[in-house]
Symmetry: none
Subunit: 214 residues, 4 copies
DNA sequence: TATGAATGAGAGTTCATTCAT
DNA sequence: GATGAATGAACTCTCATTCAT
């Protein structure tokens, strides 16, 4: 399992009291463990002791690595968003047409689910009631950026007669957004088909529907 | 084993402090309040004091009406499922074709979201990690019934050449299931269009896709 | 089962806010019920609701009859002591010899256990940590009187060569005192032998020992 | 089924938070403190705060060492019984005559009262209503063993013409049993005479009575 | 780096008690 | 006389967090 946090510095806000020096590898492991437990039980229902158990240490020992339970959540979410947007930005920079952009973004999303399922699931579950919390202001920023991105693509698609003109754009946006991310709740990377496979099938349903064409 | 929830919402809760007859109105109010708070903050992050505040009473007073915080959750979820299945069963009994059945079920789901948004949101958020809990065994039963129902309809639809033959049935099932229910997280009943409206647009996307037809 | 409280007025201290008028019979029943439950579970572990359940009413309804849970305990203990001392005083007034007085007192004690087993058991269990409580000052008074009485009898018995001269009087006092009252914990009035029977056998052991005489 | 308590005081408690090895000393101190308070006020009337106060810590801190208030009680009682039976078994193994066995058992009992007065007092006060509780099933087992032991000795003593033939064996058993243990309620180890002293005097009364011989 | 032991705030829950009806 | 609903204080217990070792 790889590390959900990237090279440090791009992680927004998280004030770090713990020294920069000691083993970033251990941190990463611990964050992965925490994400897994958060995903399974929910952030609030997860005890710091449970995470420690899973990591083979005592609860207090986690505080050598992290300021608080909340800062673990922070790092997990920020790491996820940083990585996700780095992928999205690359897609957007490619200057594809609306349909191809949708395809690339959805595929990119499934790849992220594949790589960091737990982090995505945590984001799915917790982001809604975290947006009001000052520390997690970047969630609201990201969501706004997300919304702008999708609405823009959809509008362009409609304008270019690639997407249906009778769509309620905002509804279609929510449909797309949710449809992709809830997959994090059931996706298991050891499945038969990889993320690109699943993305292809999802896109087929989303773009062309499940009904046969007359 | 059949569903442990019975007719009309009064679910078989283990110990009931109050008899069946008196003041089901107050109970219902309190459950609605609890559902609202659970939906907003998550079950675990919700304090019983918060629910009581919202209901204009003291925390301890809730225990005149309910055994525990958990039993409130239980009643909310069981009540929701009871009502949902009563709607679904009526649809299934109507003997419609696959496409019409899908349309009716999705519409019915949005009606349920419209009537009991909070309960649906709670179900969305909490059911995953509750299935292992013996008390909530009926969740697993319901989910199985749900899956069987949808897989059956999809298979029949494919057989009758109403749905596309190239679908991964299990994937399509998850797609349909999640797509509908996540709407509970953003739907607000005071919106411009009612549940039937939204159902119609969702169905249009799901059945025919968002892309223009060639 | 007869009433453990006697004609009112001899009951020490208990301030009564509830009217003197209404049905003293019902009070008596309720006190008997309370004593039974206190005896079984201990005063502290007994909930007022449990007493009410046993009496076929709701917890709040008890407060029509009594000021508080404590005042129930008060009436039970005071009633018991009043009755006990009325019996003891009669014995003491008879002017018997030491051995005969011991026999009469022990017999009287077993009669009290027979009549009001629950009250006696409550006294056994609770009196120790109640003596410091101002409301129950009469317990300390009674115990002092009790001690004086027994020590006097024993000393007289030794002086009159009725009791063994090598006895540690204080130890013998405790021995006699405890020996009798703990019987309340196992005595059941429906047993084969009545209180006089048991008293006789106890006395035989206490006075003459269990070993055969050389 | 044999007694669930094993050799040397470490009783099979269900869930233990702390491993067996470290700091059994602190546990023991805390248990002694708890036993003292339980003995004084009764288990139910004792708050966990009070125990913590007495131990110089905060209430919550107790839960680092013990699962619950109940598990403290459990350890106290099980520890007491373990030690008691280890003493009793040694006596029984010695193969003494009935009178000498009674003397040795009573002496052993007073030694136990001397060493663990609080635990014995707790046992005295609480065991009666705990026997129904599954967790404390070993109390019932111990009581049965106790009864069998005493009845056996008494019967043998009668058969061997050491004890009086006219005794009601069951009554004599209760007499012996209660007579010894209630001493825990007043015994203070700092008294003039040690446990053997008191045992000797008790035995003298029990075996030969308090009356002078004809 | 990690542990063992503790803190302190706050959670869910209980329960004696009150009171309008 | 009794009920139904609520209060408010206190209780057991949990848990994130701290810190000397």
């Amino acid at each position: 399992m790889t590390d959900p946090v990237n090279e440090n510095g791009t992680v927004p806000i998280s004030k770090k009291t713990t020294p920069d020096r000691p083993a970033p590898a251990r941190r990463a492991e611990l964050l992965a463990t925490a994400a897994e437990v958060f995903a399974e039980q929910g952030y609030s229902a997860t005890t710091v002791r449970r995470i420690a158990d899973e990591a083979g240490m005592l609860a207090g020992s986690l505080y050598y690595h992290f300021d608080s339970k909340e800062s673990m959540l922070d790092e997990i979410l920020a790491g996820f968003l940083t990585e996700l947007w780095s992928g999205y930005d690359a897609v957007l920079a490619a200057g594809l047409g609306p349909r191809e952009t949708v395809e690339a973004l959805v595929t990119e999303s499934f790849r992220e689910i594949d790589r960091h399922r737990a982090a995505v699931a945590v984001y799915q579950k917790e982001s809604r009631h975290l947006v009001d919390h000052p520390r997690f202001a970047y969630l609201a920023e990201s969501q706004e950026k997300f919304e702008d991105m999708w609405l823009g693509i959809l509008r362009r698609g409609v304008a270019e007669r690639v997407f249906r003109a009778d769509l309620d754009i905002r509804l279609a946006y929510r449909f797309l957004r949710d449809t992709v991310w809830v997959a994090a709740s059931w996706y298991r990377p050891d499945g038969a088909h990889g993320p690109e496979d699943i993305a292809r099938q999802y896109l087929s349903m989303v773009l062309d529907g499940i009904a046969v064409r007359d």
